[in-house]
Amino acid sequence: MVGPKSAASSASSSSSANALQTLWKAYNDTTSPRLKFIDAFLVFLMLSGVVQFVYCSLVTNFPFNAFLAGFGSCVGQFVLTASLRSQVNPQNRSEFKDVSPERAFADFALGSIVLHFFVYNFLG
């Protein structure tokens, strides 16, 4: 769901350079600016999560609840945003008949608020 330059696809492709270029081009051509904006946020969230995880595994996990809250907020926000992305994606219109883009955004906002309420409660 994230930008296509993740490790998963590069590892899987054998004729990697060429295929990646095609993929990048196809992505750039077909994706609307809105979705690209969402993707940028997703990449940021992923990087933030990775940094926290690396810190936890290299330095300490001592306040484990704080780590879980921070990491959980990244993961949670990531999946909520990814959900929003697939709900507003015009290609998925047929799947989400009952969810208009506005409704999807309201769901996203509500889910994020609930998530962050629990995150702040858990930070301790």
Partner: protein
């Protein structure tokens, strides 16, 4: 189009819709009324009290919450439980039940309805059963239609399998848990259906409430991932599944960790790893789907699928590896014993000793579910016929819950909702088929079933009698005009296909009367089972006098109130763990062990004290500051759940910790029998439990032979003597006996010698006196 009976066609759609919703509201109100009313047998027959053992603790905790506020309750350290150790209550309970009652209490008081907290606790379960009926209605509505939903609500409102855990006075976690279970499932189904993050978040919130309320939340934690995994494997992955599952898992997991008793378990234990694994798998699949949308090469797509499967396998291997390395805790004994059914009996006798943890017998399925038990498979099969995403859920739920209910009596409770739902689906399909008035025609035409559903739920007895004249038998069109025989056969076969249906009123009436009769018998059975089997408070025992009047045996409260009023506030009472909560709740005295069996060694200590001789037990009692020992003895009136019958479990649990001091075979006769009469083994006769139980018992019978009514054996006439304990109280029917532990002798003698001296027995002066004193 032929109809079996005519229905008025000139009614406006608005009227029909209004009537339907009115009928629905009335039906739900009546179902709620029935659900509440059928749970009040115990309150009306006896009184409004808390029933079993566990609820007494919940009640006590709720009282703390109501009187001292939420923060005091959250940080409550109870120094009176597990006497020398104490118990951190806030971190060792699921606080959802108490918090619910506390909220209700405060709301009612804010409205100037000063209701006692005890009445709220007693009537919480009936109230929530009405909510359960409603949530089951919502759930079933998603699967079929509203009429099936109403049937399911009616079923779960009165079905004994659920009533057994939610009668008035049964203030246990299950009282609110089943409502939360059904509502979480409803939110999940709804989220999956429309792909909404809102319902996913709602499912997560109710999941959080469920986690706060009941340890059985692990069932949801594994059901939803299982369902998602099944959908993925069936090739039904959709973005809706991604949205629903991700929003549920992300919020639900973080919220479940807020409950102190759960803590970091969702990331550390094996029970929660299925949810995490499916979460990871969904991310990978969703990413792959996205990449696939931008690609065209067939080859490349195959590669992508291979990498997805590879990563799934890799993730599973990672979870297994982490479990082996010890980063993830393996299954706990309670869960593990569900898979390996012989495990508990061998390794953890304390789990096996609870009667609810035994396998279920066939009659109890019928007793708890009546006719639903054979409608249930039919409903599951009907789910297969449609097989939308939510039907897959019901099928998996049915299979999993049936297995668990077969393994453990207690888990019948989680089976009951799905039985009601599936049975309602089956039953309502039957009614749909036989109430629908259209008849198949010989002439092929598309049969519109426009107005059929309106009457389906609203009892069509008036319409049935309307016009029987239209019922017509249809003759087969045997006249194929020449041509080849093959085409005629084909058309006949085609007609046979389309002309399927019910002809005439008589067949309809026969089937419908049968069905209604089954429903009536279901109601009668439920009422009978509820009133006879599940509505007896275990605190008071009821028996029938010869003239039919009721005789109530109230020894438990008699003894507990004696303790409450005649002993110092801080005197420690030792009893077997079953009675720990009741002593703390009713007698308000510190106890050594209680029903929260978190410290096995401490329980084994009590078991050792009960099962060893006085000389051995006395130092144990003194070291734990025990002042009173309370035992339950049913030998006089034939109360079979007494401590002598539980004695072997005490021995086994003590043997698990001190294998060289306590051995189970010593308590049997040489032939291997468990006896209490003359033939009983010497260890048995010397054990503290035996001595306390039969102390002064033979005197009660005068010159006659003393007979133990439970064991049906004759007790030796000589009786037992107690040197280290004094009888302090024995209740009217000898059910509860309380003994006081003697202090050390003032003259420093051994207590045995001291009591021998008082009885006038002279010690022979042949040997120099041995000054032996029990080591304290």
């Amino acid at each position: 189009m032929a109809v079996a009976y005519s229905i008025p066609s000139d009614v406006s759609p608005a009227t029909v819709a209004n009537t339907r919703s009115l009928l629905r509201i009335i039906a739900l109100a009546l179902i709620s009324g029935a659900a509440i009313a059928s749970r009040l047998f115990a309150v009306i027959n006896f009184e409004s009290i808390i029933h079993e053992f566990d609820p007494w603790f919940n009640y006590r905790a709720t009282r703390v919450l109501a009187s001292e506020g939420f923060y005091e309750f959250w940080n409550w350290f109870d120094p009176t439980a597990w006497y020398p150790l104490g118990r951190v209550v806030g971190g060792t309970i699921y606080p959802g039940l108490m918090a619910t009652s506390g909220v209700i209490y405060n709301v009612l008081h804010a409205l100037h309805l000063p209701v006692d907290i005890r009445n709220i606790c007693v009537l919480l379960a009936p109230g929530f059963s009405a909510l359960t009926a409603w949530s089951t209605y919502m759930f079933t509505k998603e699967l079929k239609d509203e009429s099936a939903g109403l049937l399911a609500a009616a079923f779960i409102g009165i079905v004994p399998g659920y009533i057994s855990r939610s009668v008035a006075g049964s203030y246990d976690n299950e009282a609110i848990a089943i409502f939360l279970l059904m509502f979480t499932f409803f939110c999940w189904i709804k989220a999956l259906k429309i792909g909404s993050a809102f319902f996913g978040a709602l499912a997560a919130l109710f999941y959080f409430y469920m986690v706060a309320a009941w340890g059985g939340y692990a069932f949801i934690t594994n059901m939803i991932p299982l369902h998602s995994l099944a959908l993925i494997l069936m090739g039904r992955f959709s973005s809706r599944l991604y949205v629903a599952y991700s929003s549920w898992y992300a919020i639900g997991t973080l919220s479940s960790m807020q409950v102190p008793f759960v803590g970091f378990q969702p990331v550390r234990t094996s029970e929660h790893m299925a949810a995490l694994g499916v979460f990871g798998l969904l991310q990978i699949i969703a990413f792959a789907e996205l990449v696939r949308a931008h690609l065209s090469s067939k080859q490349f797509q195959n590669l992508l699928y291979a990498s997805v499967i590879g990563m799934g396998v890799l993730g599973t291997a990672a979870i297994i590896g982490l479990t082996y390395k010890g980063w993830i805790a393996p299954w706990t004994g309670r869960f593990y014993s569900l898979w390996d059914t012989g495990y508990a009996k061998i390794h953890i006798p304390i789990i096996a000793s609870v009667s609810e943890h035994q396998p279920t017998a066939w009659p109890s399925f019928f007793m708890d579910l009546h006719s639903l038990v054979f409608l249930f498979p039919a409903g599951v099969v009907m789910c297969f016929r449609q097989l939308r995403d939510e039907h897959v859920f019901v099928i998996i739920y049915a299979v999993v819950a049936s297995y668990f209910a077969g393994v453990m009596v207690r888990l019948m409770l989680t089976l009951t909702p799905v039985v009601c739902v599936a049975a309602a689906i089956a039953f309502s399909s039957l009614l749909d088929t036989y109430i629908e008035p259209t008849e198949p025609d010989v002439v092929e035409e598309d049969s519109g079933k426009a107005t059929a559903d309106e009457t389906a739920s609203s009892g069509s007895s008036t319409a049935v009698s309307a016009s029987p004249s239209t019922a017509k038998k249809v003759k087969k069109s045997g006249t194929a005009p020449g041509g080849s025989a093959v085409t005629a056969a084909i058309t006949a076969a085609k007609k046979g296909d389309t002309a399927r249906g019910v002809f005439g009123l008589d067949t309809r009436l026969i089937v419908l009367l049968n069905a209604v009769g089954m429903l009536i018998f279901f109601v009668l059975h439920c009422t009978w089972v509820t009133s006879t089997a599940y509505s007896s408070p275990s605190v008071v025992l009821a028996s029938q006098n010869p003239d039919g009047s009721q005789h109530i045996i109230d020894d438990f409260r008699e003894a507990y109130y004696w303790l409450r009023q005649n002993t110092p506030e801080d005197s420690v009472v030792m009893s077997w763990w079953d009675y720990g909560y009741q002593i703390a709740g009713m007698a308000n005295r510190p106890t050594l062990v209680d029903n929260n069996t978190w410290n096995n060694t401490h329980i084994a200590t009590v078991g050792k004290a009960m099962s060893s001789s006085e000389e051995v037990a006395y130092p144990i009692l003194r070291k734990h500051d025990v002042d009173y020992v309370l035992i339950i003895f049913g030998g006089l009136i034939g109360y079979s759940g007494d401590d002598i019958n539980k004695f072997l479990w005490m021995v086994r649990i003590a043997q698990g910790v001190w294998p060289d001091e306590i051995q189970e075979p010593n308590y049997f006769t040489p032939k291997g029998e468990y006896r209490v009469d003359e033939m009983a083994s010497q260890t048995m006769k010397n054990s503290l439990m035996y001595k306390m139980s039969y102390y002064r018992f033979p005197e009660l019978f005068g010159t006659n032979q003393a007979v133990d009514r439970v064991r049906g054996q004759q007790i030796p006439k000589a009786g037992t003597t107690l040197d280290y304990l004094d009888e302090a109280f024995t209740s009217e029917n000898w059910i509860v006996r309380i003994f006081q532990v003697k202090k050390e002798d003032i003259l420093g003698r051994d207590l045995k010698t001291a009591s021998a001296f008082e009885q006038g027995k002279k010690r022979k002066r042949t040997k120099p006196p041995v000054r032996r004193k029990a080591v304290v």
